[in-house]
């Protein structure tokens, strides 16, 4: 009988290349910002573009985060996510119209209160619809991607048409509240107030989400559920319940994103969510399915790149996102930080 082969496990520090490959996704955003600076040349326009790129990225992240978590946790792909964006936008805008006395008043407190109320209404509304959507549409098709895609696309159609029925088929134009109009001049560059607010809100959401996921028990269960759901259930946690919570939270975030996007574009249509879904899918794919950090970085990359390219070469901007996605998938076929193992 031959002796067992020599086996002496050692713990060694990660080599520099390993650490670099772990950190690489985080480095992409600063690298892109620097490249943008070099390509644009003029610091003032660069600053304006960077802020608007960041604002756009943050809003996309808010909408994408729910989708990627839902996928990571329950392996459910929700093509109807876009409908929640539209629903949130319509609900929020309705509230803003209803509070038009507050939004037109030149008082910061009243303006912010109106926007907060609109956001709250939109989030509660989309959260409730999300709960119903999960119950009625998604629940019966767990485990089958094909049916999930079909059924949620069906749900998207029905919800969009329902918006037409309730709010009419015309697009709705709106004005931002008094205090959020205009821009601040910083050096030679003009920064729109609303974009700065969007960046702040997006950062706050990201930080809050990270805190919940990293520091709380429920976050621990969610992360563990993404990594290995069966094991978490074997330990006695009702993952289905957690999942419903995540689905509702994701829908509510989509609603929040919808209100913010509506205030950004100042026009809403029933199809706006559907159009956003394309960017959201790109973000979720390049970030890696199931990864919040990946979605965050991906969203910032998409937002920044789109703004830079639109400034430098307007025609190319249309396909810049596809180019970005292709490049990232060539580099990492699973996306930058995949959490869910390939199935």
């Amino acid at each position: 009988m031959s002796a067992a082969p020599d086996h002496s496990p050692t713990f060694s520090r990660l080599s520099l290349t390993d650490r670099l490959s772990l950190a690489a996704p985080y480095l992409l955003v600063p690298v892109l910002v620097v490249i943008g600076f070099l390509a644009i040349g003029a610091p003032s326009s660069w600053l304006t573009l960077t802020v608007s790129g960041l604002a756009m990225g943050m809003m996309i992240f808010i909408m994408a985060s729910g989708l990627t978590l839902v996928f990571g946790l329950m392996d459910v792909i929700n093509f109807g996510h876009g409908a929640f964006i539209s629903l949130g936008a319509f609900m929020g805008v309705s509230v803003l119209f209803w509070l038009s006395a507050w939004t037109d008043a030149p008082s910061l407190v009243l303006n912010v209160a109106a926007v907060l109320l609109a956001i709250l209404a939109a989030m509660v509304f989309t959260g409730v619809i999300g709960w119903a959507f999960e119950r009625v549409i998604v629940r019966p098709v767990y485990g089958s991607h094909l049916k999930q895609i079909l059924v949620t696309v069906g749900g998207l159609i029905v919800l969009e048409q329902a918006i037409h029925v309730i709010w009419g088929a015309e697009e709705i134009y709106l004005n931002r509240p008094e205090a959020l109009r205009g821009s601040i001049t910083f050096g030679a560059s003009a920064l729109e107030r609303y974009r700065i607010l969007a960046v702040v809100v997006g950062l706050a959401i990201f930080v809050a989400m990270r805190l919940v996921l990293r520091r709380t028990k429920i976050g621990l269960i969610v992360r563990a559920g993404v990594q290995n759901g069966e094991m978490v259930e074997a330990l006695g946690y009702r993952l289905k319940l957690v999942f419903i919570g995540v689905f509702i939270a994701g829908s509510a975030l989509a609603g929040l994103g919808g209100v913010m996007w509506a205030l950004y574009e100042q026009v809403i249509t029933a199809g706006m969510g559907e159009n956003m879904m394309i960017l959201i899918f790109i973000v979720v794919i390049i970030g890696g399915l199931g990864s919040i950090e990946g979605a965050f970085i991906g969203a910032l990359l998409v937002g920044l790149l789109q703004n830079y390219v639109a400034f430098l070469e307007p025609k190319v901007a249309l396909i810049s996102n596809i180019g970005l996605m292709t490049a990232i998938l060539l580099w990492r076929p699973q996306g930058m930080m995949p959490v869910v193992k390939a199935k």
Binding site: I77, F79, I137, P140, V141, H145, L146, K147, I149, L150, V151, V153, G154, G155, I157, V158, Q161, A162, H164, V165, A169, E274, N275, M277, I278, F281, I282, V284, I285, K315, L318, I319, N321, I322, M325, T326, L329, L330, P333, Q334, A342, K343
Partner: protein, 350 residues
């Protein structure tokens, strides 16, 4: 002979056989049975959509992968014919060159998308095709010097296919180029449909079904799943491009709304699911029912909305523009309760 022609894939249900025969006869004799411009237009649309939906079924029903770029390939064929007709001399060779170029471009693009997405996981494919298709739709509307933008392109097709070309009368119906054009569409669609039937009933088609049922096991038996999925997606893209070319020849117009829009993609999805996934005959029934509903149901709904004018909400729900909502509900219900569609129900219900 007849069984050979349909590759041994019998309808396996008396009602289904009768329905298919009725559809075949009605489409074959459409110019004589339903004279007039609009019925002929509907019949041609049904032919084209049967081919388009059947090619999509090859992907969705047989291989089990969802693509949202199918109308993009449809558009490739249509724009291929349009661009060739504009830039070449008016004639048959322009149609041929445009058709082949469109199909080739569709197959190549499908191959590239497949390389990126099918390699990792099939679900990527759905998302990436959606992104690519929307990018192409935006590009087409932006590059208006080449594609005519939102207005689309009109062009000339050989004179033999236009209403100006007259041949005489048969059974009291004037035979003109329009009817010849219809028969070009009809017979090409029929032939390509039979080719698709041949493909899905070949050993290749059987492997596709094995992949749909259990890709892991198919790989374990020794079939390269990625290669088969990519091949299926290229084939179905090329077929969709052919359908697009025929549609462009029939309409003598291409534009984003008629060939590229996401609405058409949803229509195709609805047709496949309602007709029955995983059977080519489902495509036939789905397309026929859907196109007829599209053309005539809206009129009915308009009447319903008019009747219920005084009631709250109901007129809005019955508004002809909201017909997609009812189809969406029907779609969701049919995925739950009749995942095999009409054809599946007919086959089990005997």
């Amino acid at each position: 002979m007849l069984v050979n022609l349909i590759s041994g894939d019998r309808p396996r249900s008396t009602i289904l056989t009768i329905l298919l025969l009725v559809v075949l006869v009605c489409l074959a004799l459409a110019p004589f049975l339903f004279p007039g411009v609009r019925p002929l237009d509907t019949a041609a649309r049904i032919c084209v959509f049967i081919l388009l939906v059947a090619s999509y079924d090859l992907l969705l029903g047989y291989t089990g992968i969802v693509s949202f770029a199918h109308t993009m390939f449809f558009g490739f064929g249509a724009y291929g014919v349009a661009l060739a007709s504009i830039h070449m001399e008016r004639g048959w060779d322009a149609l041929l060159v445009g058709t082949l170029a469109g199909a080739l471009a569709a197959a190549v693009v499908a191959f590239v998308i497949g390389l990126f997405s099918l390699r990792v996981r099939a679900i990527f494919f759905a998302m990436i095709t959606l992104a690519v298709a929307s990018a192409v739709a935006v590009l087409v509307s932006q590059l208006f010097q080449l594609t005519g933008g939102e207005d689309g392109l009109t062009y000339q097709i050989p004179r033999e296919l236009t209403p100006a070309f007259r041949l005489g009368e048969v059974f009291g119906v004037r035979i003109n180029g329009r009817i010849l054009n219809y028969y070009l569409v009809f017979f090409t669609c029929l032939a390509l449909f039979l080719v698709l039937l041949r493909i899905v009933n070949s050993p290749f088609g059987t492997v596709l079904e094995a992949i749909r049922e259990n890709d892991f096991r198919a790989e374990a038996i020794g079939y390269r799943v990625v290669a088969y999925r990519t091949a299926a997606s290229c084939l179905s893209a090329a077929m969709a491009a052919f359908a697009g070319s025929l549609y462009a020849i029939w309409l003598r117009y291409v534009g984003p709304d008629t060939t590229l829009s996401f609405e058409i993609m949803l229509d195709v999805l609805l047709m496949v699911v309602i007709g029955g996934m995983g059977t080519m005959y489902g495509a036939v029934l789905g397309a026929v029912i859907f196109v007829l509903a599209q053309n005539y149901l809206q009129t009915l709904m308009g009447a319903g909305a008019g009747l219920t004018q005084g009631l709250p909400l109901i007129p809005q729900l019955l508004d002809p523009n909201r017909w997609l909502m009812w189809l969406g509900i029907l779609f969701v219900l049919s995925v739950y309760f009749f995942p095999t569609g009409i054809v599946g129900r007919l086959r089990t219900g005997k």
